[in-house]
Amino acid sequence: MAQVPNLDNAPINLKSLRDQSLKELITILKNIRGKKCLVIDPKLGGSLSLIVQSSLLKEHGAELRHLNAEPVQTDCTKVVYLVRAQLELMKFICSHIHNDISKGIQREYFVYFVPRRAVVCEKILEEEKVHHLLTIGEYPLYLIPLDEDVLSFELDVAHKEYLVDGDTTSLWHIAKALHKLEFSFGVIPNVRAKGKASVRVADILNRMQLEEPVNTSEMGVPEINTIILLDREVDMITPMCSQLTYEGLLDEFLGINNGAVELDASIMGVQQEGKKIKVPLNSSDKLFKEIRDQNFEVVVQVLRQKATSMKQDYSEMQTTTQTVSELKDFVKKLNSLPEMTRHINLAQHLTTFTSKPSFLGRLDMEQTLVEAESYDICFEYIEEMIHKQEPLINVLRLLVLFSITNSGLPKKNFDYLRRELLHSYGFEHIATLNNLEKSGLLKKQETKSNWITIKRALQLIVEDIDTANPNDISYVFSGYAPLSIRLVQHAIRSGWRPIEEILKLLPGPHSDIKRGGFSSSPSLDTLNGSLHGSDKVVDGRRSLVLVVFIGGVTSAEISALRFLSGQEGMAYDIIVATTNIINGSTLTETFVEKLG
């Protein structure tokens, strides 16, 4: 199975999007004749693996390298840099070229910026006096399909850049990507946004439509009916909790990167000592599609059931005589065996983590924090973690959770915990603390917390859940319904209006805009999610809601959305677009900055 996902079942034609990106990349390579060394910035390389297999690049005469501080070792006289427009990457390119010059190596250099040229990057190239040596181009890659229903803008640090540095480049990028989508699928008539960044993106998107209008008359009925934009900032609680879905847990413990997880070969039952292998995880894997969104508890049972039934079939095969068609069925089942083994191996590996008392303890604590009714217990637990020098990220995750559920910490505790943290982990982390404070994730208490109100109003804590046959999204966190998805649920069902009071308690403004000349298509407000909506069935397909997360989304949240979309009486298919897929740790890591 390949890492490039199969997109045939996507609710909109994502394949054409990906093919377009692929074509553009190949054109770039074709236009530079002969052999060339393609130097890709590592993050981008990961993203590209979702579009193209490296063998195809090699077919076009490209030697592949990753961009880092080391000078490029190659015999090619043409060096093609394919980089994101990031300041720190420019340093590498400059140093490579300076190195070549000092050694008297003559080469042709090409720099392709993704997704577009940036004045600030070129300024650096100019100041380093290499700009005139370069041929500069663009590779307009704004959006990558991660799976049938998930799109990524591939902006890993967008959240931190926006909150801490005030750099809004990513917002423009998102708006541009959405605008490009509109060129393919029509102007999206309803735009709902919650959060500062989201409202800004909606705003820029409108500007773009003014500046470079998508021709509405040619496109017919837009394929996407509604777009819901949501800032991560609105809900920082959810990502900080440990995800309990199968995919979520895989991400928490093993780290899913670009739709694949990398682990020791021995875990997957391959006898190659010390070798790492990549296991692709996407909906092309039927079994994974079935179990990825389920609570891990259930996944274990499902796998056991499947294994048992297969075992049964196998023993029947040995004892009784079979008809040809029965044999056929059996062989068909055998085809799913590699998938079975794969997930049994993975699941078993996961249990080694989930059965640890420290993990269970953390789950308990998260639950306590989210319930927000026993301040002292939480405080002491976190204090103890700091003193024990547990991994900083784990501490920060809980600390952020603690701070947000309480609208910040009382000054005394705030200063105390910060001081202990510095004592325990070193003073260089003052920068991390400063970042967290700037972004409002960890702060001094100024107002009374309204978390309990929000929690009650949106029914975020659900008792008595049945993880096997869930009837609410709260199954993904075994009892906590992710705030972000609750908001989406309301937005789809009835728009913002009925929950305006609650929205006001959450950070950032909200907006609800109707666009284009589609007054005929009823808005979600009037639709009420009922099956009788007049625009529901357009040539037999359900209309689409695009949910955009600015600042990242967790697998568990996507699972919850899939659950919503699969509910009876739901009039919409849901697709997700996100700056990137996150979990609490990867999100927190972006804020960690050591002075040293």
Partner: protein
């Protein structure tokens, strides 16, 4: 001197200088003058042969120069001809018609022709000549030549075959002019007589005054002092209708219309006669109409076509409509006021776009606009040209009035580039008008650079920020940075948060010192402090090799400096204290390294430092660090909990509970270690839970019963049941799956 395709007048003087003018007699920029080459200064140019888009020149030294394309005027020198006498006549085959895509010049010398190219000379057509006059046809395939023995020859341009040979009865002088008329007849001109030779008998015309023949694609324009005539072969369709006594279907159809108009029954009769060939007849009428210059005849012919069409079942009706449209356009430009008498074929060859370009060049904007609207073409070109011309022409009109006039017209086209108009206004020295115009540009990516170029930095910055496009903001930022003194620059960006943040971002990477200046100037002392603090670490990186050296001095100084800066603002008391502690810690670590002679202390945290001290057995130092930083016992215990027991025993005075220690061992999977310490736990409940955590069910149960805690016992039972199940599940699963692999 000649006109080119896009109506540029090209003049070449004797010394080989080429001048180019537009139709308003204004020299065309840039390099309106260029020279053919230095050789032409000494040997003046004798003859020039133009074609629609190029020219070939021959100078006194018989060198041939040519400009193959006026759009990209680069003179090239063709191969040396080696001639000593002037050729009898010359002709040029245009690049687009030759095999090599290069110009070929034909020169008639003695009894043959020289074919001159850029890289060689070739003799062709031996024995054909000597040719007195020759001319190449419009499509470059045929050559008409007048020979010394009074014959008119038409040969293919590769001289492979003679296609036509016409001998003049009366010996004649070579004609003054020779020209192709269309592709199938040749005009010869002597003094007062014009002879047309082609299929059929030659036709003669007589002129009282000298005329000039200008070949066109489908005929010849005949220019005399008084008039311009257009001579072309009468199209077959026209002949079929208007030939006297013609009984061809087309003629009958035309006739039928006439009868119909007169309400005569003969109309029907005529139609019956031609029923079977009605479509051809209609076709012929349309064709005749398209070649017709006379408007009323056009009208009649088209009516005839329309009349006939009504009786045809399958006929593409839009053909007539299409033709009407084209004819209306042609009639419009043929109007004496406009004076572009184009034949239909010329128009097709020219394309409507070029026609419109010519019209706007001639400042016939209204007509151009109407035509482009009529033909459904983009009107942007016309409107844009009009506005630019208007701006240039109306220097006297005040900005506001002019703006209103312009906007009124600009709004015709959606999406027209206001920025381009504004750029033009700026070029014409109307900066204020430019500023007003650019206000209307919806595309920020075009608007902002222009605002910068007209010096409206503040507006540019505002617009860039509004657009949300950070790239534009950077563009403005660097522009202002370059133009203004630092302080003023700081002031500008300080009031614009996005610009400020982006600047800080950039400067963090590349302009550290400058950033410090910025923060100082705006009073963001805490940010300066952070920068200094960061620098202190960078110092340590540079001195990796020399740990424990006096270099720590400057580091500490930097940190202290940042401490004082933090202290300036109330909100940063915490940071200030942290900096103070950090400095203190560094000093102590430094001392420790000196006393222990081991470079392992600097840059570790306080907890780590204490631990290192304990490991080294330096309890006094550890205690000192502890008191100095008021480290709580609780935290110490936890931090040290994983150290070896022996070490901790020595530290025992601080020891209150073994619990954290046990926990640490459990987490680290040190089962052996942990078993030693569990019995030391005093509380049986704690002991029981600890046993449970290492999976020793029996001991756990014992301890629980000791504590007489039933609830705990129950809970334990449950945990163990779950755990056992969980751990055994997969083992069993694996066993079951271990039958022969399928792959």
């Amino acid at each position: 001197m000649s006109w080119t395709e896009d109506q540029t007048l090209v003049c070449i003087t004797q010394d080989g200088t080429v001048y180019r003018y537009n139709i308003h007699a204004e020299p065309i920029e840039p390099n309106s003058q260029l020279s053919l080459g230095a050789d032409c200064l000494t040997h003046s140019v004798v003859e020039c042969i133009f074609w629609v888009n190029g020219v070939a020149c021959i100078n006194e030294a018989f060198q041939v120069y040519c400009i193959p394309d006026f759009n990209n005027p680069k003179p090239i020198k063709l191969a040396d001809t080696g001639l000593e006498d002037f050729p009898l006549c010359t002709a040029v085959i245009e690049p687009q018609y030759t095999m090599s895509w290069n110009v070929e010049v034909l020169m008639s010398v003695a009894d043959h022709v020289l074919l001159v190219e850029e890289d060689g000379v070739q003799q062709v057509g031996l024995g054909i000549g000597p040719l007195q006059k020759m001319v190449v046809s419009q499509n470059g395939k045929l050559l008409a030549a007048f020979t010394h023995d009074d014959r008119l020859l038409v040969v293919s341009t590769d001289f492979s075959s003679i296609i036509f040979d016409y001998t003049f009865e009366k010996s004649a002088l070579p004609p003054e002019q020779l020209a192709w008329c269309g592709l199938d007849s040749v005009l010869l001109y002597w003094d007062d007589k014009l002879l047309m030779v082609g299929p059929g008998d030659p036709v003669s015309y007589f002129y009282d005054e000298p005329v000039l023949l200008i070949p066109e694609c489908d005929g010849v324009r005949i220019l005399s002092n008084m008039s311009m005539e257009f001579l072309h072969r009468v199209p077959d369709s026209t002949v079929s209708i208007f030939q006297i006594g013609s009984t061809l279907p087309a003629a009958l159809l035309y006739d039928a219309l006439d009868h119909f108009d007169r309400r005569s029954a003969k109309a029907d009769e005529n139609l019956r006669l031609i029923r079977s060939s009605l479509p051809e007849a209609v076709e012929a009428c349309i064709d005749a109409a398209r070649h017709e210059f006379d408007v009323s005849l056009q009208w009649t012919l088209l009516r005839a076509a329309n009349f006939g069409q009504a009786f045809c079942s399958h006929f593409q009706r839009d053909r007539i409509q299409e033709m009407c449209k084209t004819l209306r356009v042609l009639n419009a430009v043929r109007h004496p006021d406009i004076g572009i008498p184009l034949s239909i074929q010329q128009y097709k060859l020219l394309t409507p776009a070029v026609l419109i370009a010519r019209l706007i060049n001639a400042h016939r904007h209204l007509l151009a606009l109407q035509i482009s609207e009529y033909l459904g073409m983009n009107q942007e070109v016309v409107v844009m040209h009009w506005t630019c011309t208007k701006i240039t022409a109306s220097a006297a009109i005040p900005d506001a009035t002019l703006l209103e006039m312009l906007l009124d017209k600009l709004k015709i086209c959606k999406g027209i580039s206001y920025a381009a108009v504004a750029a033009h206004a700026d070029k014409n020295g109307r900066r204020k008008l430019a500023a007003m115009l650019v206000e209307h540009e919806p595309r920020s990516s075009k608007q902002v650079p222009l605002l910068l170029s007209i010096g409206e930095e503040d507006t540019a910055l505002m617009k860039a920020t509004e657009s949300g496009d950070t790239d534009l903001v950077y563009l403005v930022l660097f522009h202002i940075w370059q133009k203004k003194p630092a302080l003023e620059f700081f002031g500008t960006i300080q009031v614009r948060p996005l610009a400020r943040d982006l600047f800080v971002n950039y400067a963090r990477h590349y302009k550290h010192e400058f950033l410090k200046d910025f923060f100082l100037s705006t009073g963001q002392l805490q940010d300066v402090a952070f920068l200094l603090w960061k620098e202190s670490w960078e110092l340590s990186k540079n001195s990796m090799a020399s740990k424990g050296s006096p270099l720590h001095g400057p580091r500490i100084k930097l940190i202290e400096k940042s401490q004082h800066l933090f202290a300036e603002t109330k909100e940063y008391v915490f940071e200030s204290k942290a900096a103070e502690e950090h400095a203190k810690l560094l000093r102590m670590q430094h001392e420790l390294e000196v006393t222990t002679k081991q470079a392992i202390f600097v840059d570790s945290s306080i907890s780590d430092t204490i631990r290192t001290c304990i490991v080294l057995g330096n309890h006094r130092a550890a205690a000192k660090v502890k008191t100095e930083f008021k480290v709580s016992e609780k935290s110490l215990v936890l931090a040290q909990s994983f150290l070896l027991w022996s070490t901790i025993r020595d530290w025992g005075c601080l020891w209150r509970s073994y619990r954290p220690f046990v926990e640490a061992c459990v987490d680290a999977d040190e089962k052996g270690e942990v078993l030693k310490y569990i019995p030391k736990l005093t509380d049986p409940r704690e002991r029981s839970e600890a046993y449970a955590r290492v999976g020793m069910a029996k001991e756990a149960a014992d301890a629980a019963s000791q504590a007489k805690d039933n609830e705990l016992l129950g809970r334990l039972k449950q945990t163990f049941a779950q755990n056992a199940a969980a751990s055994s599940i997969f083992d069993t699963l694996r066993d079951r799956l271990s039958f022969p692999s399928v792959s």
